[in-house]
């Protein structure tokens, strides 16, 4: 169901658990990390390939530039290579790796924004005028453009939740913040997206007030 799951092994049917976070997958990744700690380059390449696509997708959406995304991916795996020996299995391998990627991405995004390398929010973003419901592909394009209007922390929370399918607790571990902070970030992101894209709900202008707050 989640982003990479259409190209990667699926989890147990009915569990809603993406394949790359199933127990077997986590054990396999932990074993790879143990081999990497001993300098095994094959294991390193295998782990890199497992994560490259999902990280490239996530980061390219965030930065809108593959060269920046690639730099973040390689920075992340450079740390994985050097720190694999420090991984004790206290968290899932994917949470550990995404935690590194998150910090690198946030820093890269801020640095790029300062240098003007990141695309500015499209002020002219207009909802489609067609009366017909948006196809999923169109909606995806609109969402990606709308994400540029969100603060970076909210964008990352949206990506980690909708794109990569992490649970609230996992996102909190990745972002190193309380669970309630994750919920709050996503609450504000949802409200803002619905304000930008009222067509999301099918009824224009019905966005934020629907939270009942």
């Amino acid at each position: 169901m989640r982003g990479p799951s259409h190209t990667e092994p699926q989890g147990s049917p009915g569990t809603g658990e993406p394949g790359y976070r199933s127990g077997a997958s986590a054990a396999r990744e932990a074993a790879l990390i143990a081999r990497i700690a001993n300098g095994d380059r094959r294991a390193f390449e295998e782990l890199y390939n497992l994560y490259h696509r999902r990280l490239a997708r996530f980061l390219t959406r965030l930065t809108r530039r593959y060269d920046i995304a690639e730099e973040v991916i390689n920075d992340t795996f450079w740390i994985v290579w050097r720190k694999a020996g420090d991984f004790r299995g206290d968290s899932q391998p994917s949470t550990w790796i995404l935690g590194i990627a998150y910090r690198r991405a946030r820093n890269a995004f801020r640095a790029s924004a300062r240098m003007g390398a990141v695309e500015n929010p499209d002020e002219s973003l207009q909802p489609p005028t067609s009366e017909e419901p948006m196809r999923a592909e169109e909606l995806r394009d609109w969402l990606v453009r709308a994400l540029a209007h969100l603060p970076v922390e909210q964008r990352l929370a949206v990506e980690l939740c909708y794109e990569l399918g992490y649970s609230c607790e996992e996102i909190a571990a990745i972002m190193a913040c309380p669970v309630n902070t994750v919920k709050t970030r996503l609450f504000h992101a949802r409200a803002k997206l619905q304000k930008i894209l009222p067509v999301l709900g099918g009824t224009a202008g019905s966005g934020e007030r629907r939270g009942g707050k």
Partner: protein, 248 residues
Amino acid sequence: MMTVDERNEHQEVWLVLPWLASGRLDPSERERAEQHVRVCARCEEELALQQRMCGAFAEPDRVIYAPGPSFRKLMERIDAEAQADKRDVRAPQQPRLSPRGIAARLGHVALWRPPGAAWAASFLALFALTGLLTTAYRWSEPVYRTHTDSAEAIQNVLHIALDRSLTIAQVEELLRASGARVVEGPGSTGVFGVTPVGMQPGTSAVAVNRQLQRLATRLRADPRVLWVQPLAQDDTPVNQRAPAPPER
């Protein structure tokens, strides 16, 4: 109209709807959320929206980036850094010399230029070595102490050392018998300075010396006298000759 409890529950469920839509909600929380969604139209509508968003984000990418080139770049970076690390580790060691460098080192000592710290260390080492050698030389020399420690010697005085077990009365008897009177001492080493009894001021040096010679002969004859300052056989006054022999 919702009660406070219902409103709280609604808000709590509202916050977790993205994970209910993605199937990543904790089972216990999911059950409660699903129960609420069944009776709450707004949450039901929002859940449908969240499911659309999940579906939209799950749409396949138009562009898929192959990992190979990126991985090769990463490995080049790792290898380059490993080389740099090796160089850093080797740097503090003695640099490997080429034959030309060895020849230059052997033939031109001046090529070696120690850094400032090495200069300072060399200077301190030289200073310490000099001090050590001086001290060692002093220690190797015999230690001499003079019997007399007066800075200004009295003229025409004969120095003697007596047996220290003698009483004052015995010393007096010894001096009376030998015709000597004490004019100096005893010093820190127990040495007395004596002169012949009856020696008058203004006596010629030759006469004084003769009197001292005679006194020394009498004192040497007494076994209680341990040492008598040697006198030359010339007519030079006693204190104008070489000093008394040192005592080890």
